[in-house]
Symmetry: C2
Subunit: 267 residues, 2 copies
């Protein structure tokens, strides 16, 4: 495998760009090929079988483009598809749940951890299982927040309705006396300040993106796949639908501008 090949990163839409942002920061030599499945977003409310089918199609596409490793930058896809994807493919595949769970297990002092995510991620209990594997006597309180993604996509990051909805969803998480809360959806880092105000300033918010980028770095190194040359990194962004919206909204997630978005139809 060519060490200068890009890392493939995919998500149901644009949320995974928060992971790309960290990858660019931590791995400046690596090229990235990002696929956002905007034609079929959101994955959160969909069944495990459907999310697995979509993930397989995307992995086949990314492999056809010659990626050397794949980051599943979507919590729902990680929850429903990661084991099967690893079984079926002979290249390193990194998900967002193991790194996030590890960071939460390291951060909690009271062993009381909150997890917030989409309906699919919460129902899968993937974070809960992983945190309890690391900390068998941990108490994990999970809460689905299905309106957070539409609110973020509407651009209402710090508006009255967003604060009111965050209170509805997160008051039970705060009342469960958790001291670390996993942002179990790649969109949620954009709501960090609203979420922080509801759960309280002394609660650590765990953003999987950072830890996922760290795990990707380690995996590339140990597989002898890390890019050797500097100043060669290039970034490609592909969406399955509505590239203009991707271009416009993506900037909020990536923290820098996107020049061009290609469109590829799957399924």
């Amino acid at each position: 495998m060519d060490r200068s090949a890009p890392i493939g990163v995919f998500d149901s839409g644009i949320g995974g760009l928060t992971v790309v942002r960290e990858l660019v920061k931590q791995l400046p030599n690596e090229s990235i090929l990002y696929f956002g499945d905007t034609a079929r977003v959101p994955y959160g409310p969909k069944s495990p079988d459907t999310v697995l089918r979509y993930s397989r199609e995307i992995v086949a596409f990314l492999r056809s483009q010659g990626v050397k490793a794949i980051v599943v930058a979507c919590n729902t896809a990680t929850a429903h598809a990661l084991p099967a994807l690893r079984e079926e493919n002979d290249l390193p595949i990194i998900g967002v749940i193991e790194p996030g769970a590890r960071a939460a297990a390291a951060a909690t002092r009271t062993k009381r951890v909150g997890v917030i995510g989409t309906a699919g991620t919460v129902k899968s209990a993937a974070y809960e299982k992983e945190i309890k594997r690391l900390l068998p006597d941990a108490f994990v309180f999970s809460q689905a927040c299905p309106l957070f993604v539409p609110l973020i996509e509407e651009g209402w990051m710090d508006e009255d309705p967003t604060r009111l909805i965050a209170e509805r969803y997160l008051t039970p998480v705060a009342e469960a006396n958790t001291d670390a809360v996993v942002l179990g959806c790649t969109h949620y880092p954009l709501l960090k300040s609203v979420i922080g105000r509801v759960v309280g300033r002394d609660v650590r918010l765990i953003d999987s993106a950072e830890e996922t980028a760290r795990e990707t770095a380690g995996t590339l190194r140990s597989n002898n796949l890390d890019a050797e040359r500097a100043d060669q990194a290039c970034y490609r962004f592909i969406a399955s639908d509505a590239p203009e919206t991707f271009l416009r909204v993506g900037q909020r997630f990536l923290g820098s501008s996107i020049d061009r978005v290609e469109t590829v139809t799957l399924g």
Copy 2:
């Protein structure tokens, strides 16, 4: 064509069941085959090309099941796909926009009409064009309300955040002095009371479902396709994903219970 064949009805998800409800009421002899594309919901933010592709796949499926006519019970699909679907198929196809626009044109006294819908429906300006065809000097004020569908699917029909968000979206509609507002999304009839309180009790809310059922009745009669025998009607519900959610949430839309939901994968 067999007059006892079912009418095919489709939507991006469960919203179209508000149209089925009216069809059952007005056309008790007709059988209905409903397809909800829950694997790819929502259509609202997606591009016209993608919505057209999805609509073609569903129409091909419904035809393979022997339907005698098709009701596009989704505003976004009607806006983006109806002309092409009519061109390509030799059976009657009824959309929700023409009937809704006609009802609005009949209801307004001041010729100032509001239209609320998904981003896709509003961007298409399909209602505005149709209303102005009927009332050339009408003033049409359109407003996208992207959070209404997620709020309804969360079951928050009359909660504080819903009222607050309705005020944000609808105050400009009220201030435009409209005297009729088209509920340009099949989900919105479930928010009728909240919407009514914001726009004011003297504003007529136009629910396309009723008018669409009336147009369907007329079309079947004029094509000699109306079912002749009573007590033979049967209803089939098919979803492309997550039939349990369809079963549970669908009742709210249909106003009566659903016994069974089949699953069919498209695309």
